[in-house]
Subunit: 138 residues, 2 copies
DNA sequence: GCAAATTAATGATTTATTCAAG
DNA sequence: CTTGAATAAATCATTAATTTGC
């Protein structure tokens, strides 16, 4: 659409986006009509917006959230399987076991992420080919 | 730690920092294990570094970025709330209150909602009263 | 100018939350 | 309802900036 005549579809301002995400994070998923009206009123202080935009935003966000998670889970399952094959010639099985080599804080349980990745050092013999940070394969 | 024995924590070289920020600027946020390995390999050309350093750097950078934005937004919200007029005459008050009355998500949601709500425009005379989502207490 | 003292940044850990599978 | 996996939020801890008194 012609630039001077306003866009054909709603484009959230950063403030609007943050507020929406904040609401989403605190548990709002499918606001009812009344809630949508309140939210729209609040967001309208930061830019042009209509109730249907709010309604659709929550619909889409919820859906895409789930989608993203599903894909991520699949990816990581595949990755983990690959890596297990790659450097499994020694040590215990299950990559989560190899945690003993992180900074020895006595009461430490596995805190974060894939320890196989965290424990890789720059001196090590990494041989990763093909980066192509093309996530979202599946 | 003893002076000759190396520092207790990673300190990024200017080159490493530049590369990391460049990646962040182009959209890298939570690299997976494989990506972290690639990045670490690349950065190790400029100084000692481990995968966990890369992992932490993105975690922290992303979090503090959000934090900064959130603080800015809160200032604006507080300003807005000072000027806000309490409306109070009809229907539910805090939009979060009416959670109890949300349509049970068990089955199908109303697919296209209340047309009155969808058609409401931001030009209307809606007024929100304080939601007091204490975002980021400052 | 220069360190000791103080404050700001930021690396590293811990804790809480989230989603979905069982 | 419980639990596994991932990660965002909150927090701790150390290094860098800076302020300060000499």
């Amino acid at each position: 659409m012609s630039p001077a005549a306003g866009s054909s579809r709603w484009c959230p301002t950063p403030e609007q986006l943050m507020i929406l995400e904040e609401m989403y994070k605190t548990g709002v998923r499918t606001p009812n009509a009344s809630q949508i009206q309140h939210i729209t009123a609040q967001l309208s202080l930061y830019g042009k917006i209509e109730c249907k935009n709010v309604f659709y935003w929550f619909q889409n966000h919820k859906a895409r959230d789930r989608q993203k998670l599903r894909r991520k889970l699949n990816k990581q399952l595949q990755l983990q399987q690959q890596q297990e094959v790659v450097h499994y010639n020694q040590q215990s099985h299950h990559f989560l076991d190899s945690f003993g080599s992180l900074p020895a804080s006595s009461t430490q349980q596995l805190p974060f992420y894939n320890s196989a990745a965290l424990n890789c050092s720059s001196g090590g013999s990494w041989r990763c080919i093909r980066t192509s940070n093309n996530l979202e394969g599946a």
